[in-house]
């Protein structure tokens, strides 16, 4: 993103620092995946700023949370032994950890008119009603859990997805969309030609290689109906 917007000032917040959005106007807030222990520390660190985060989401600040970062803003994270960690409770999802079974999947999802490709790699599944504020509907890969094709959360310009990085590099159209959300008209990407060629090739590859997987999923859906 910095290569696409070279003039942007990037502020990296370390675990013991106060997030910059508390005292300054920030245009784009990113939080990436973290370890389970890291998640719990971040929840504690962000708790005092819950209302501020809600206010920023309501006023249209652009957010991107990837991987398990989304769970920090959810209601709770449950361990295998039944113990529970309370999240910030901004979104009503409940995550469930299963540390001996890592869920890996390749995804194709539809967000507005954009096809998003990427990878998920996580120990958790999330449950809760996101029908009104999901980020994308998947055509390939597992959604928030095994029973849904809905993936991620979107509210105003807040986007959270289990899809991991480099989601922006893999998805030039989506990156442009975010740049537009940031108020950039006619956004130009860094290495636009290279990333677009790679994106188109991956999209084609995913459709070709996993077509049968997609078909199977479709058939299963039919049976359920």
């Amino acid at each position: 993103m910095h290569k696409c917007i070279p003039d942007a000032e990037v502020i990296e917040t370390e675990i013991n620092q106060t997030p910059a959005f508390v005292n300054e106007k920030i245009d784009f807030i990113y939080l990436g995946p973290c370890s389970e222990r890291g998640q719990e520390i971040i929840i504690q660190k962000l708790k005092p700023y819950k209302e501020k985060i809600e206010e920023l989401i309501d006023n249209g600040t652009v957010f991107l949370f990837t991987g398990n970062a989304m769970e920090i803003l959810g209601d709770s994270i449950k361990n295998e032994d039944g113990s529970k960690i309370d999240g910030l409770g901004i979104f009503h999802i409940r995550a469930k950890r299963d540390m001996m079974h890592r869920q890996n999947s390749n995804i194709i999802g539809k967000y507005e008119d954009i096809e998003i490709v990427g990878f998920k790699s996580q120990f958790t599944k999330a449950y809760g009603d996101i029908e009104d504020n999901y980020f994308m509907e998947l055509e390939l890969g597992m959604g928030m859990n095994e029973n849904t094709n809905y993936e991620g959360i979107k509210k105003n310009n807040f986007i959270a997805t289990y899809v991991i990085g480099p989601i922006l590099i893999l998805n030039p159209l989506f990156t442009k969309k975010i740049m537009q959300m940031l108020g950039i008209e006619n956004p130009k990407l860094a290495l636009e030609e290279e990333v677009t060629t790679a994106y188109e090739a991956r999209l084609k590859e995913f459709y070709q290689k996993f077509k049968s997987e997609k078909k199977d999923k479709g058939e299963k859906k039919e049976e359920k109906k």
Partner: protein, 461 residues
């Protein structure tokens, strides 16, 4: 150890018979017999009689090299042992090795077992097998899909390593040195080197804040990634003092001095002086000393060691050096180290990058997130005149290479490795460095042949 049951004997005999049959059929018998035995008798590893001394080797990088060195030195000194060199390093491979090394009643035929143990498989191996010594070489992020992150792997090791096992751990690795805090430990480390820096040169460091109090760690020096010397400014967490400390590394004379905690100094031959191998050699020396080998015996063995060709090879052809260097795909640290080697080795170079995990690609598609944890930036260097990219993920690698600011005009590519190699410009080139994945050995050979063909052609013109 549990009492042997009838099921155990059926599993043992069945696996032994299966192993003979597989060998007759010339099929790979590296994990199947163990898998069979474990499926029939899940407690199999627990029930089989154990060796007097079990040397386990785990960690992210260097397990195979360390095992190979231990085995070669033991052999050189006429020690009898079994190992899983040709078997897999997960539970079924270990069971296969124990089956092969056991009599029909399940008794070990030899005294020592040298076992490479996959760190992720700790939960399936350690409840049943107690290594006398367990080396942990280092702990870094590895395959994201399998190993997630280092806190997870360190947690699995801490949970499952038996309390009786004596650990031999890397003091300069703050993740590795802190596993299994209640176990008895021997630490090995290397004194400050000229190449150490006060600023990190890598994208990834797997430990940044103190795991006890979350304060940012202060590094006295960085060696590579999180390896170095650090302490927490807020509590007592930090790099432990090493029991075996290597210093005075003499690249020319190929030796180093090891200082023991009591001040005794011993000199050892070091067949390879790159930093990763120095740690590996150090771990090997420490464990062999524990089981009673003398300095002389160890040195005799070290002098006869050869680096396995699949990891590193050098070939000089008509004045051009062709180097193959393993750059394990999906492993950001191993690739970063290989890329740094391409940068720092002298001369004008072409780097041929073949890092896609073909094994992973055959199963589906490779998650390329790891490329963004890898220091491709090392390949953006004046001495590297051309970067050639090949393999199924070449389009992704081009993007990563360009984001590392490798100039467009230096990059050549093609999906097919020979086609890509044909674009090499050998004018003024001293070295061709082929950076390849573990599953691309045949492709690497084809690249080597193509380069030789091109050199020959160039000479004849």
């Amino acid at each position: 150890m549990s009492k042997k049951t009838l099921k155990f004997y059926i599993a043992l005999w069945g696996a032994k018979a299966g192993s003979i049959l597989l060998k007759l059929l010339r099929r790979n018998a590296t994990y199947f017999p163990g898998k069979f035995a474990l499926s029939l008798c899940p407690n199999f590893i627990d029930m089989i009689d154990k060796y007097k001394t079990i040397i386990g080797v785990t960690g992210t990088n260097g397990k195979t090299t360390v095992c190979n060195m231990i085995e070669d030195i033991l052999k050189e000194n006429n020690y009898q042992f079994i190992d899983n060199k040709y078997g897999s390093n997960i539970d079924s491979g270990i069971a296969t090795t124990l089956i092969a090394g056991a009599t029909l009643t399940g008794k070990p035929k030899k005294d020592i077992a040298v076992l490479e143990i996959d760190e992720r498989s700790a939960s399936k191996v350690f409840p049943y097998l107690t290594p006398t010594y367990l080396i942990c070489t280092n702990l870094f992020r590895d395959s994201l899909m399998r190993n997630a992150h280092t806190e997870f792997i360190a947690g699995v090791l801490t949970k499952y390593i038996p309390k009786e096992t004596k650990l031999i751990v890397n003091a300069d690795d703050l993740i590795c040195s802190n596993i299994a805090p209640d176990n008895e430990k021997i630490y090995f480390g290397i004194d400050r080197l000229e190449t150490d820096t006060t600023k990190s040169n890598n994208i990834v460091r797997d430990i940044i804040v103190c795991p006890k109090c979350n304060t940012k760690l202060e590094y006295e020096y960085y060696r590579y990634h999180h390896i170095g010397k650090a302490h927490c400014p807020n509590c007592n967490f930090g790099t432990p003092e090493a029991d075996y400390r290597a210093s005075k590394i003499d690249i020319k004379e190929k030796n180093m001095t090891i200082t023991l905690k009591d001040g005794t100094k011993e000199q050892y031959y070091t067949p390879n002086t790159n930093i990763i191998n120095l740690y590996n050699i150090l771990a090997v020396i420490v464990v062999l000393k524990q089981i009673g080998l003398t300095q002389e015996q160890i040195n005799n063995g070290l002098k006869k060691l050869k680096v396995v060709e699949t990891r590193y090879s050098e070939d000089e052809y008509e004045g051009v050096k062709i180097i193959t260097h393993l750059a394990k795909g999906m492993n950001p640290i191993a690739c970063s180290r290989a890329f740094e080697y391409a940068k720092t080795t002298d001369g004008n170079k072409i780097a041929i990058v073949l890092i896609d995990d073909l094994h992973e690609d055959a199963k589906g598609t490779e998650n390329i997130a790891w490329q963004y944890d890898t220091d491709f930036e090392f390949l953006n260097d004046e001495s590297i005149k051309q970067v050639i990219i090949a393999g199924p993920r070449y389009l992704d690698t081009i993007v990563r290479m360009r984001l590392a600011d490798v100039p467009k005009e230096k990059i050549e590519y093609a999906k097919n490795e020979v086609e890509a190699t044909a674009k090499a410009n050998l004018e003024g080139i001293d070295k061709v460095v082929i950076l390849h994945d573990l599953y691309s050995l045949e492709e690497t050979e084809r690249i080597k042949n193509k380069i030789k063909e091109m050199i020959k052609e160039k000479k004849s013109k």
